[in-house]
Amino acid sequence: MTHLHESRSDIVFVTFCYIFVTSLAIVTAFPFWEQMVLSISNRADANRIGLKLFTANPDFTAYRQIWSSSNIWRSAWNSVVRVVTGTALSVTLTALTAYPLSKKKFLFNKQFTLIILFTMIFSGGLIPGYLLITKQLHLTDTLFALILPGAVGAYNLIIVRNFLRTIPASLEESARIDGAGDFRIWWSIVLPLSTAVLATVSLWVAVGHWNAYFDSLLYTRDTSKYVLQIFLRRVLLEQQMDMLADGMIIDMSAKPTEISVRAALIVFSTLPIVIVYPFLQKYFVKGIMLGSVKG
């Protein structure tokens, strides 16, 4: 676009845009930056009053304490197990369930779709779900309680189904003539063509599992089965620093402040998100667009 005659008011307006947008970026980034600085600050720096923009003498004692706490590693491992199994289960089942729904000729397609869509607008609520999982299915302290209930979400199903409908029927027909059955077609034609949408859904589900805490709070009694987010809740929000007490005994004079340890925990738990963030941005934006397609 050409801007031959930028008037005075235009320049003022554009300047305002840049200032606002820059401030927003700073305001968004600052809290994370500050936590990072705090996590590598020594005792004196962490307790200093003022903005923590940088630290002159980085000190990694807080990380060393985290590193040596088996409670943290156990809960992080529990989270990893949850993310991996939960995502694998969820994506497999979603891809399987969505395929028949994408076929017009599928028996009772309309009725099944209605039953699934209804779960998007009405739910039994917290207590009946809690009683079902704890009292009737007895899933307390099992991984199933965390990965089964949300494994097949209506929203993801509809997104995948809508995508599958765009696969040209001719592709499947030629395979059918060659004698391939429905399973075969799903495996060797449909799946390879839908990697993009399945990647989107996988990331979606994986981030959801990594960040999930509430179901774990409801369905975990055994502290050795805590996921990382529950551990974080205990330490960050309920100030139970003794959760970290199993870490190595550090020379008391060099003991990191609680502020630094909490900051290090925040950085530690955010790291996986930072690592997948480039993919997230790419696929999530795509996902939003997919989601806006009518269900």
């Binding site: 676009m1 050409t2 801007h3 031959l4 008011s9 235009d10 307006f13 845009c17 840049y18 947008v21 927003l24 970026a25 968004t28 600052f30 809290p31 994370f32 500050e34 009053i49 003022g50 903005l51 923590k52 089942l93 399987l96 369930t97 395929y99 028949p100 599928f106 028996l107 099944f112 039953i115 699934i116 607008i121 739910s123 039994g124 609520g125 917290l126 207590i127 009946p128 779900g129 809690y130 079902l132 009737q136 089964l148 494994a151 097949v152 199903l157 059955g181 429905d182 399973f183 981030v207 999930a212 809740r233 960050l236 929000l237 502020i259 925990l265 963030y277 941005q281 009518k294 269900g295």
Partner: protein
């Protein structure tokens, strides 16, 4: 006897292979065998974990007895619903839900639109990309972690925000435990976390505005502000209406994860919402039946709201872009 059996078998065969229908149900099941097999595991999970709790809703009309289970517990009719409207805690939670949802709608809804419009004016590609990358980020962080960051940032003794306040010779503010400040805190932190991500959908809508519109307006001597007013805003109108209606359908959920991780007993009076109330009283104090009733009340109102919103969306967009 034998002939009767043959007769009846013939009858069933006729029903299932009725030549009138051309192809029968049984034949169709056989045809769909593989598809049905693929469909069953996922569908069963939906039945168990989405419809199972719906069956459990009958608890709202019973008095739950641990030993007898849902089936065996005795019926009490609408007792819990009558209690609901005379229970101080539940009523406060209901009131807070509406107030917080309304405030979030009032301030949280326009924020991403504002950002999208301003970002749209930024023509410098790399800079725009950086701002987007940074502003989307908090969306992917759990409220547990965000609450941890806020505790540190807003601490009255060591927090940076209070440092700035004190620097300008103010009194430190106890943001997280002051009933005056807690709701504004909820609104601001929610905007902080979601403004960038919320703008994605509006930016997408803006990217499809034909550039010729802007070029023609420039030739006609329109200023940037005029172009925002007469080109950008009108092209966002339909998506704005849809997003607004969608959020209104969610009014009964004021943001459980946020409040649950931020609140504490000193601010219950201004922050306890239906969902937190049901969790605390229902599961914490094991008042299952009463809180199932509270949950059912919420679900039914939400359901009605969503149907209404969907109807309105369809009406406004001439029937082709309903949410369902």
């Amino acid at each position: 006897m034998e002939s009767e059996a043959i007769m009846s078998q013939k009858k069933t065969t006729e029903i299932f292979h009725s030549p009138k229908n051309g192809f029968s149900l049984w034949k169709r099941i056989k045809e769909n065998k593989a598809l049905l097999l693929m469909f069953t595991p996922g569908f069963l999970l939906i039945l168990v974990f989405a419809y199972g709790p719906m069956y459990g809703l009958i608890l709202a009309f019973k008095d739950y007895n641990m030993g007898l289970g849902i089936m065996g517990s005795s019926w009490v009719g609408l007792k819990h619903f009558r209690d609901l409207f005379s229970n101080q805690g539940a009523l406060i939670a209901l009131k807070n839900t509406f107030i917080i949802s309304f405030l979030k709608l009032l301030f949280g809804f326009p924020a991403p639109i504002f950002l999208a419009i301003l970002l749209n004016e930024v023509r410098q590609g790399t800079f725009k990309k950086i701002v987007q990358t940074v502003s989307y980020f908090p969306h992917f962080i759990s409220w547990v972690v965000v609450a941890g960051i806020m505790n540190s940032l807003l601490s009255p003794s060591t927090g940076s925000v209070n440092y700035v306040i004190k620097f300008f010779s103010g009194e430190p503010i106890f943001f997280m435990s002051d009933v005056k400040w807690f709701r504004p805190m909820l609104i601001i932190s929610n905007i902080w976390k979601e403004i960038g991500w919320g703008s994605v959908i509006y930016l997408a809508a803006l990217s499809s505005v034909p550039i010729e519109l802007h070029e023609a307006a420039v030739i006609d001597g329109a200023s940037r502000l005029q172009r925002v007013r007469y080109i950008t805003l009108p092209s966002l109108k339909s998506i704005m209406v849809i997003m607004l209606l969608l959020q209104m359908g969610n009014i009964m959920s004021a943001g459980f994860d946020q409040i649950f991780n931020l609140y504490n007993p000193t601010v219950y009076s201004v922050s306890d919402i239906i969902d937190t109330y049901v969790y605390r009283i229902g599961i914490g104090q094991m008042m299952y039946s009463f809180n199932t009733a509270v949950g059912l009340f919420k679900s039914v109102v939400s359901f009605a709201l969503i149907l209404m919103v969907n109807y309105l969306t369809k009406r406004l967009s001439d029937g082709d872009t309903g949410i369902f």
